[in-house]
């Protein structure tokens, strides 16, 4: 008897107004709170059972076992929260049902591979490579990093010195040249003046560290793309490798090298680069993290194959190679 109020609301819907019906039901509960506690409770999804879609997904899930027919159906069909009819089964049937469903979630156990030391590192490397692949695919060749007004630039004294070995590798600034190698028409030694002879770009951009801090600085230099064109580099090559006086090393994807905001930077805050910031020449790319911004440049190489490992000092310790922003 007390079963009646709920099923009655089930039978109401014109088949196509299923949605409207369930939202109607949803407003009802406050009324039913006063109903006697003996009222049987249904998963609200039971309302959706008449929908053809729900029925389809049911049958595909239970392809091996016809769902409805094994027991004489109860007087009132009842549904669990997943829109499946409630069943009365023998312990054996229940065991089989549970076992089959258990097998379906078994693939989750694969995550346990991350707990096995031998597999962990290779798996994490694959994860990192996948993220790098996605980052490379997302990189917009013409999407510029935000630039800032002079008033937003951090004072020079607040721009941190970051180095991995020594703050000043004692570069002989008088005799310094940039060695150019690889897939270029005019390899050789280039003086700073030759680089400075190319159009100069000054930009206020954000320098973001992988640690999580960032600082807005003022940078001046030559577009890397201009210099690469000047030396007749193969712009279809995949990488630019960089070796530094302090034995730091890096490699950058060509898309980023050719980005209009990627600089061979020889000035900060309108002054020649000081020794702590990588004098006389460094990379400055507002589309990359700080560890990609190689300082104290010594040799650049246009290449299609990276020279060993990921060819990046921090990348070879475990940071991601792309390091893009």
């Amino acid at each position: 008897m007390s079963d009646e109020p709920q099923p009655a609301s089930d039978e109401q819907p014109e088949p196509k107004a299923a949605e409207g019906d369930s939202s109607q039901n949803a407003t009802e509960p406050p009324v039913q709170e006063e109903a006697p506690p003996a009222v049987p409770r249904f998963g609200p999804a039971g309302d959706e059972q008449p929908e053809p879609k729900a029925a389809e997904s049911d049958s595909s899930q239970n392809a091996t076992q016809p769902p409805v027919q094994e027991e004489p159906p109860p007087a009132v069909p009842r549904f669990g929260p997943a829109s499946e009819p409630v069943r009365e089964v023998t312990p054996g049937e229940r065991r089989r049902m549970n076992r089959r469903e258990l097998l379906k979630v078994a693939p989750v156990v694969v995550l346990g591979a991350f707990a096995i030391p031998k597999l962990r590192d290779p798996l994490l490397m694959r994860g990192l490579e996948f993220s790098d692949w996605a980052a490379g695919a997302l990189f917009g060749r013409h999407r510029r990093a935000q630039t800032f007004s002079d008033s937003e630039v951090a004072p020079f004294e607040r721009f941190p010195y970051n180095y991995y070995d020594v703050a000043d590798p004692d570069v002989d600034l008088e005799r310094w040249t940039l060695t150019v190698e690889g897939l270029v028409q005019r390899p050789g030694e280039y003086k700073l003046e030759q680089i400075q002879a190319l159009p100069k770009v000054v930009q206020n951009t954000r320098h973001v560290c992988v640690e999580g801090w960032d600082v807005i600085g003022n940078f001046g230099g030559t577009r890397a793309s201009d210099f690469l064109r000047a030396i007749g580099a193969d712009l279809t090559a995949r990488y630019l490798e960089l070796e530094c006086v302090d034995d730091y090393y890096e490699s950058i994807d060509m898309a980023t090298v050719l980005h209009p905001q990627t600089l061979f930077c020889y000035e900060m805050y309108g002054k020649p680069l000081d020794r702590g910031h990588g004098a006389p020449l460094r990379l400055q790319m507002p589309t990359k993290l700080g560890y990609k911004q190689a300082k104290y440049l010594d040799t650049i190489r246009v290449t299609n194959v990276l020279k060993g490992g990921k060819h990046g000092y921090w990348e070879d310790q475990g940071y991601d190679w792309f390091g893009g922003l």
Partner: protein
């Protein structure tokens, strides 16, 4: 004669009532995201230690001292490897779950709606202060809906703020609605706090509701479901 009759009689009626509560896609998504959220929180805390502050520039002082023992990855680079690997599992399982709920229409039973607001306090009072259990005639009570819906909310906030921190140049337009690049770090941290608040409550509730409830998240079938009594 009497003996055989007895045997058949005692065998035949032994039937168990079972309801299918969690389809396999939901269960897979649940367990994948359970592992992933654990990895994301612990590795995320290790990443935070590298710069334990929300300021734009160098930290003037540490915001909070997080013990390394509860973190994953060992060092910043290691933690980033975990974070950048499991973010795909975390987001992937969340997306699969949400799509599934939308396609099947099951979202109606778990999505917290304005009409559920008034039911939250009676339910909380019942759980935390041993008040009378309010009558519930839906698969999930208002407090459950609030908890489950909030995890989706925290997940979406984590994902969007994470994207802004990970690729602020490519997704500059996403940073704007959250108050800018620096705010992404704060919202990301707060979303993590949301998960940290949810998980113990969830685990306690699971423990209180016993084995058959827990088991239904493994095989999908729940024995003698309480809403059919």
């Amino acid at each position: 004669m009497a003996a055989t009759a007895n045997v058949t009689e005692s065998k035949a009626p032994e039937l168990i009532t079972v309801a299918y509560e969690h389809p396999w896609l939901v269960r897979i998504a649940h367990w994948l995201s359970a592992v992933a959220v654990f990895v994301m929180i612990t590795s995320g805390l290790r990443i935070f230690i590298a710069f334990p502050s929300f300021g734009p520039k160098l930290p003037e002082k540490d915001f909070i001292d997080i013990p390394k023992a509860i973190t994953l990855g060992g060092w910043l680079g290691g933690a980033l490897q975990w974070h950048f690997t499991f973010m795909w599992i975390f987001v992937g399982s969340g997306v699969v779950y949400v799509i599934y709920q939308v396609v099947t229409g099951h979202w109606r039973q778990v999505l917290f709606m304005p009409r559920d607001i008034k039911g939250v306090w009676p339910m909380a009072r019942h759980y935390f202060f041993f008040g009378k259990k309010p009558p519930v005639d839906a698969a999930y009570n208002p407090l459950q809906k609030l908890a489950y819906t909030s995890t989706i909310f925290f997940g979406v906030v984590s994902m969007l703020t994470g994207i802004v921190m990970y690729k602020p140049v490519q997704f500059w337009w996403l940073a704007w609605p959250m108050g800018g690049f620096h705010y992404a770090r704060i919202w990301h941290f707060l979303a993590m706090c949301g998960f940290v608040a949810f998980i113990p409550g969830h685990l306690i509730m699971v423990a209180l509701h016993g084995w058959k409830n827990f088991y239904s998240m493994i095989t999908g079938w729940k024995r003698d479901p309480e809403y059919l009594e």
